[in-house]
């Protein structure tokens, strides 16, 4: 009888110990394909810049890294999907500043970027410009600002929608240069660009890759850049900083984030793997072809970056009174 009791106890002890080996197995990552959740439709700029690198990531991490498109609601559908998924490192969100901008203007967002997500690393950035149509009466940003100061509310600038990067760039321009103009939202960057090229609105804010071809052909004219320094592809275009408006500083970026609560070892592994992929020369070439800048930032630095960016957008949203109740 006693032997049986001991054997029973031993049996249960062994069974129980299997439960705890579960957490030991977590370090054995990755063992199956990883989903890279892109919050926009295939073929869009977000999708393309991610597809330029996911094969390299597969190489460095040893498992397939697959792009999963979950479009909808300007990034909310994909964001919520990852925020609510298991923190096991197999669902990674492509985080962009549109998620942060959304949080700054939407109190009822279904998830919180700081609380529900764990930033992993920053990937690329792209400079933003103010563009007008090729034969516009404005040749420099000074002319545009002068016009706006002398004719308050007459200038019309378009964006890809409320809360879009292009919208916030305009608001930043407003607060930095202290001018007032009409903001015309469109259902996306494409219709907005068409309206600019047709002369129906005066200008818009756009990322480099989006308009560069048309700038080179003369169909649009870039007036000013929101970057720290002049951009090599458009050396003749001044920055807001040069013109005396150093607060007008922003650029669009993409990074990666996992659900909050993902174990530190997994975050580190992913960060290291992604870093190797991003720093690889072949990736560098692909990124350059798409007119992005490789801007890798590691886990700790990126986390701080996300915080400061969110503060920046909170400030802009509050001062411009933008909210999506």
């Amino acid at each position: 009888m006693k032997i049986q009791k001991i054997l029973k106890a031993l049996f249960f002890f062994i069974m129980f110990s299997f439960i705890f080996t579960g957490s030991l197995l977590a370090i054995d990552f990755p063992t199956k394909p990883i989903n890279l959740v892109v919050c926009f439709a295939a073929g869009g700029s977000t999708d393309i810049i991610v597809r330029a690198i996911n094969d390299k990531m597969s190489e460095k991490l040893g498992v397939p890294v697959v792009v999963l498109n979950k479009p909808g609601s300007g990034g909310l559908v994909g964001g919520e999907f990852v925020a609510r998924s298991k923190p096991d490192g197999y669902n990674i969100l492509v985080l962009s500043l549109s998620h942060l901008v959304r949080q700054a203007i939407d109190p009822k967002m279904p998830f919180d970027v700081l609380k529900d997500l764990e930033p992993i690393c920053l990937y690329v950035s792209q400079p933003i410009f103010i563009i007008v149509k090729g034969d516009s009466k404005f040749n420099t940003i000074d002319e545009m600002i002068d016009f706006a100061k002398n004719n308050p509310g007459k200038l019309s600038m378009g964006s890809a929608g409320i809360g879009a990067t292009s919208h916030f760039s305009l608001e930043l321009m407003k607060t930095a240069t202290k001018i007032n103009f009409k903001h015309v939202p469109f259902a996306g960057e494409g219709p907005c660009l068409t309206a600019v090229m047709g002369g129906h609105i005066d200008g818009m804010a756009a990322g480099l890759g989006f308009f560069l071809g048309k700038a080179l052909s003369g169909d649009v004219k870039p007036l000013v850049c929101f970057d720290e320094n002049r951009v090599p592809e458009l050396k003749d275009v001044a920055t807001f900083k040069e013109k005396g408006y150093p607060e007008a500083l922003m650029y669009s970026w993409f990074g990666f984030a996992a659900p909050a609560g993902t174990p530190k070892e997994i975050i580190e592994k992913v960060d290291n793997g992604f870093m190797a992929a991003i720093k690889d020369p072949a990736s560098g070439a692909a990124i350059k072809k798409l007119y992005f800048r490789e801007s890798y930032m590691g886990h700790a630095e990126f986390k701080q970056f996300v915080k400061t960016e969110l503060e920046k957008f909170d400030k802009i949203a509050k001062s411009a009174g933008i909210t999506v109740k």
């Binding site: 073929g43 498109n69 909808g72 009409k182 068409t194 933008i322």
Partner: protein, 500 residues
């Protein structure tokens, strides 16, 4: 003739074996995609986009273009056979095409759709080759005020889609406008009537609505009826359109081609609007408008030609200006960017091989599609002979898969089912569905264009009349409305003169 030599050089590009193969693969895949309800060219191109990374940009564009207009060909097949639109642009084909199928004339319907699409596709490519740059400039002249007036015209003509009492059609149109409100308002960024359901933030999707209203409701309706032998085994009368059919269709085909081409150039739903507009025009011009809705071949020939030629037109802004006109074109733009090309006005000059190769591939693609589709007509017609108890679960299955494939969203499946039930009730009480669909598409565009115009012009509505293109559309809309009053006015006059 510089263009002619460019076209010839384009042919030399496309006649290379690799490109011919990609063209064929594209149109073949496109036809399959078009036939399967719900899954549209957008989904297929999105899936195949990454694989184009490994082939040359010219071949990639040829293949993707083939998928696009191939899907337009295939989309009409299910519309005619089982009243399920393969795409929003083929909704109108359901109206008369399905009636023809019920009368055993599915063959001629499919045939005229194929021939009409071929003629339209070829003509639109011809127009594209010679008129691309000036037309692109014309498209740029369309700003928010012009879109507003175009939408007014669109909403006016939707009355012509009604086959029954106008009041019922108007009720359905009003309902469509109300449904169009659901979603995020782009002017203020606020979500309207979404009840916290995140999938509604982008509005009620058109695909679930269309597949529910037309496809699911038809299945429910048929299943309710006692399935008589005659319904499922209608005698198949002829596989190809006869001489009378051709005589009736030739006008609609040419009118549809030109209408579709010019509407396709405009960013924003060219193919859909052009198919509805073509239907309305044919009905208005017909000597026997009461036949529409009961199987008039003009109601198939016109819209099918229009939506195919709109695909040709929609390439223009992309290839000449680098501006995409719809989701598919945006993906093509993505494909070009992926290859390091910058689509814009310089593309034609810097990459003549790509530009003219793509355009000439469309000629060949249209020929391939005709050769592919004609023999298949006999096969498709046999599908109708499958006993309905076996056919309808398959239809439901394809609808479910199709809707899910668009956005990987289970919520959209529920919407489709909801609209299926609604559509069934509408059928029972004889309410029209086409006006609802058109209003659902046009409503948001109309509202956005109006508010954007008012923001730009600081609330001054006179701008709609002072800008020539906008004024033209408004005048046409007014004339159309007044023309429907003419018989009534004539009657009144007669009454007055008789009373003397």
């Amino acid at each position: 003739m510089e263009t002619l030599s460019s076209v010839v050089s384009g042919f030399s590009v496309v006649l290379q074996p690799a490109n011919l193969l990609f063209c064929f693969v594209g149109v073949f895949v496109g036809t399959l995609i078009g036939v399967l309800p719900g899954i549209g060219p957008l989904g297929a191109i999105a899936l195949l986009l990454p694989s184009t990374f490994y082939i040359s940009p010219t071949s990639a564009l040829i293949m993707l273009a083939g998928i696009y207009y191939g899907a337009m060909y295939g989309g009409s097949t299910t519309s005619i056979l089982v009243n399920i639109p393969g795409e929003a642009a083929t909704v109108v084909t359901c109206i008369d095409g399905y009636q023809m199928a019920k009368q055993g004339r599915a063959g001629p319907a499919l045939g005229i759709a194929a021939f009409g699409s071929f003629i339209a596709g070829t003509i639109s490519v011809l127009l594209l080759s010679f008129l691309a740059p000036p037309l692109a400039r014309l498209a740029l002249k369309f700003g928010p005020p012009e879109y507003f007036s175009l939408m007014i015209l669109g909403l006016t003509i939707l009355v012509y889609l009604a086959n029954g009492p106008i009041i019922k059609a108007l009720m359905m149109a009003a309902f469509g406008l109300i449904l169009g409100i659901v979603g995020t308002d782009i002017i203020t960024g606020r979500a309207r009537f979404t009840f916290g359901i995140i999938e509604l933030n982008d509005g009620i999707g058109i695909i679930p609505v269309v597949m529910g209203l037309f496809g699911i409701s038809e299945v429910l309706f048929n299943v309710e009826k006692i399935i008589k032998r005659e319904v499922t085994k209608t005698r198949i009368r002829g596989l190809f359109p006869n001489l009378q059919d051709w005589k009736n269709s030739i006008g609609p085909i040419f009118r549809g081609t030109f209408l579709g081409f010019f509407l396709g150039i405009l960013p924003g739903g060219g193919a859909v609007i052009s198919s509805f507009a073509s239907y309305a025009i044919e009905k208005k011009m017909s000597k026997h408008p009461e036949k529409f809705g009961t199987g008039a071949i003009e109601g198939v020939a016109g819209p099918e030609s229009a939506n195919n030629s709109a695909t040709g037109g929609s390439f223009i802004p992309l290839l000449t200006l680098g501006v995409p006109t719809n989701g598919v074109m945006a993906l093509m733009l993505g494909a070009l960017v992926l290859h390091g090309l910058q689509p814009g006005p310089l593309l034609m000059k810097e990459q003549p091989g790509l530009f003219w190769g793509t355009i000439t591939s469309m000629y060949l693609g249209n020929v391939m599609l005709l050769i592919l589709n004609l023999p298949l007509i006999g096969l498709w017609v046999q599908v109708l002979r499958i006993p309905y108890p076996i056919l309808f679960p398959l239809i439901l299955l394809f609808c479910l898969i199709g809707v899910f494939s668009v956005n990987n969203s289970v919520a959209e499946i529920w919407f489709m089912i909801l609209f299926g039930i609604a559509g069934y009730l509408m059928k029972k009480f004889e309410y029209e569905m086409a006006p609802l669909v058109l209003a659902l598409i046009l409503g948001p565009m109309f509202e956005n264009a109006l508010r954007q115009s008012l923001i730009i012009f600081e609330g001054d509505p006179i701008v709609f009349l002072t800008r020539p293109i906008s004024a033209a559309f408004l005048i046409v809309s007014c004339s159309l409305l007044l023309s429907t009053m003419l018989p009534w006015l004539k009657g009144k006059r007669k009454l007055l003169s008789d009373g003397d």
